[in-house]
């Protein structure tokens, strides 16, 4: 039920609103990417911008990701604040040099004399049978390499605040939004992501995790759509009398290890939920971050619910078999406590 002063927005609209608000006050902000103009972005997050700001500041590009991301770096170093879109994160392979070796490193290479204030926004995730080149998350891939901040909102409130913060940051920020949360009807919509969003501009601190639900028996750490799986699992566990705390990472870089460790210190148990591939990724890092700090707080071996190490299959039954979901989280709890 919508409360009187509530203004529910989808993540897509929240993102576009943050960009528009910054564009109004800062003439150096502009947007580049494929189909971000007349189409408004395949995932709706630039809708309305072309009409308001015109083709000079909202620039459809050729299918030349290396060139336009590289160009964004050059523009950022020259006083602009570009927002560039990599339509699907899966496409990072054609342009990763411009991202991880250029955008992410020029501040360091220049000893801080160059600033690289830019936002790279990109869609992640599957669940709608788009197969192995259009459904990946690769959170771990981006978070592993130094020099870029990495954020991933789970709801529209955070989406707007993170975008504003990213736009005002003098360092490059990779903004990973999950397609299943965008609130595009045609992709199905996780209703929990569409929340009240204040009209006025506000910025969230990058690098801060959030307690999405407080609890005392187990900590479930996740990000993006996984937070909603975790909340659903927590609701189910609550029916069994189990109190689960859900930590929404919000940022992968910087990673808020304090908040994670404090939660696990309280609950003694850890489940990590990640739609990215399991090995050498986010789930391992979270577990290592807790255990290298202090193993005495753990009452049981930590568990992960992550995408298995296989390409993402097309067929719905296969993809769903692989994807994290509330059932698998509840099952992880059961295995953890059965042991």
């Amino acid at each position: 039920m919508t409360k009187p002063n509530e203004r529910k927005l989808t993540i897509a609209r929240a993102m576009a609103e943050a960009v528009a608000q910054e564009m109004r006050i800062d003439p150096t902000v502009f947007v580049m990417g494929e189909d971000i103009g007349a189409l408004g972005g395949v995932y709706g997050n630039t809708r309305g911008l072309l009409d308001e700001f015109g083709t000079e500041r909202v620039r459809d590009t050729p299918i030349s990701e290396t060139a336009f991301i590289g160009a964004a770096v050059g523009a950022a170093q020259d006083g602009m604040r570009p927002v560039v879109e990599l339509m699907f994160v899966d496409f990072f392979g054609v342009c990763f040099d411009a991202i991880y070796n250029l955008m992410a490193k020029n501040i360091y290479f220049s000893g801080g004399s160059f600033r690289v204030p830019m936002v790279l926004m990109t869609s992640t995730g599957g669940g709608y049978s788009d197969a192995g080149q259009h459904s990946q998350c690769v959170y771990g891939t981006f978070a592993h390499l130094p020099g870029m901040k990495v954020v991933a909102p789970s709801n529209a409130y955070d989406a707007k605040g993170l975008m504003t913060a990213a736009l005002r940051d003098d360092s490059p920020v990779v903004y990973m939004y999950h397609k299943g949360l965008q609130g595009m009807g045609w992709l199905g919509t996780e209703p929990g992501a569409t929340v009240h969003v204040p009209e006025e501009s506000y910025a969230l601190e990058i690098g801060k995790a959030k307690i999405a639900r407080a609890g005392s028996d187990v900590t479930i750490v996740s990000l993006g759509i996984g937070v909603h799986h975790a909340l659903k699992a927590a609701a189910r566990l609550a029916e069994q009398g189990v109190s689960a705390e859900v930590v929404d990472l919000v940022s992968l870089v910087p990673l808020d290890r304090e908040t994670i460790r404090a939660s696990v210190a309280k609950t003694g148990r850890l489940i990590v939920v990640d739609e990215d591939y399991m090995s050498y990724g986010v789930s391992g890092e979270i577990i290592a971050s807790v255990t290298e700090h202090d193993i005495s707080v753990l009452k049981a071996a930590p568990k992960r619910v992550a995408f298995p190490d296989v390409p993402i299959p097309f067929a719905r039954v296969m993809e769903q078999f692989c994807l994290p979901d509330p059932d698998k989280i509840v099952a992880a709890w059961e295995q953890m406590t059965a042991a």
Partner: protein
Amino acid sequence: MSPTRDEQHWMYRMMVTSRRFEEAIAKIYFEGKTPVFNMAKGPIPGEMHLSDGQEPVAVGVCAHLEPHDVVTATHRPHHQAIAKGVDLDRMAAEIFGKATGLSGGRGGHMHIFDADVNFACSGIIAQGMGPAVGAALSRKMQGKPGVAVAFVGEGAVNQGGWHEAMNLAAVWQLPFVCVIEDNAWGISVSKRASTAVAHNHVRAAAYGIPGVRVEGNDPYAIHAAAGEAIARARAGEGPSLLEVETFRLAGHFMGDAEGYRPEGEKDALFARDPIPAMRARMLDEGSATEAELAGIEAAAAARVDAAIAFARESADPAPEDALTRVFAA
């Protein structure tokens, strides 16, 4: 050189088969997705890129190819697959995500692979260029017959990998042809807005190879130009670039409202639909009778119906099979 009578019949049959196939897919695609469109639902979930209107490119080129020749196709691969002779039953089943699909449901519509006819495709723009050049290299090194053809959209020509592969094929003088399906649009971005030259065939000059453009989405002209390029490749004379004007009669993907297209553009294209045009021309030139054409059309429709029925009736894969076939057996 005009296609022979037999070639014309084959080309027309493939074009009609392809169109019927797309129509069937388009219809089924909406099953389970109404009243509320949700891409994840229905017997065919996920993105769907149809090839309506682009059939002349596929048939004009593939008329010159044998099963042992190699084709790499795009995210919009059905017409190319059909013209290359990909097994229609197993292709339909793959698009439905069934166990009997070409890859047991692992790939779906953007990942149609058929080893029997050396066909592969990809969801990444221009990704097929390297593998096609490599297959051409393999043939040259092994002294085995066969050329390799990479189909790409005109939007793909601005991708760096396209340029690299063209240069490599030209440096090594490989039996390779790049065919650009120029439908004037890359999703919502027009060729004019994305490409610094009016026509991409001029880019052949950057590789010192022949570059030809065919206007009008005309299967006969495409057939002639492709024939020359492929013959050159077979003769060991090196790669060519062939740009073909074609029409995207569908949206970029299903669900695309195409608000970005200028008013009237689509109507004008529909008026030039290459299938009725070829039909009329064959009748006109006497290369087919009405009865022959009706027969071809009926056979094509039946073939498509059978493939769709095969796909529908096939079983889903076992969910846990998702974990298999990551590495070669």
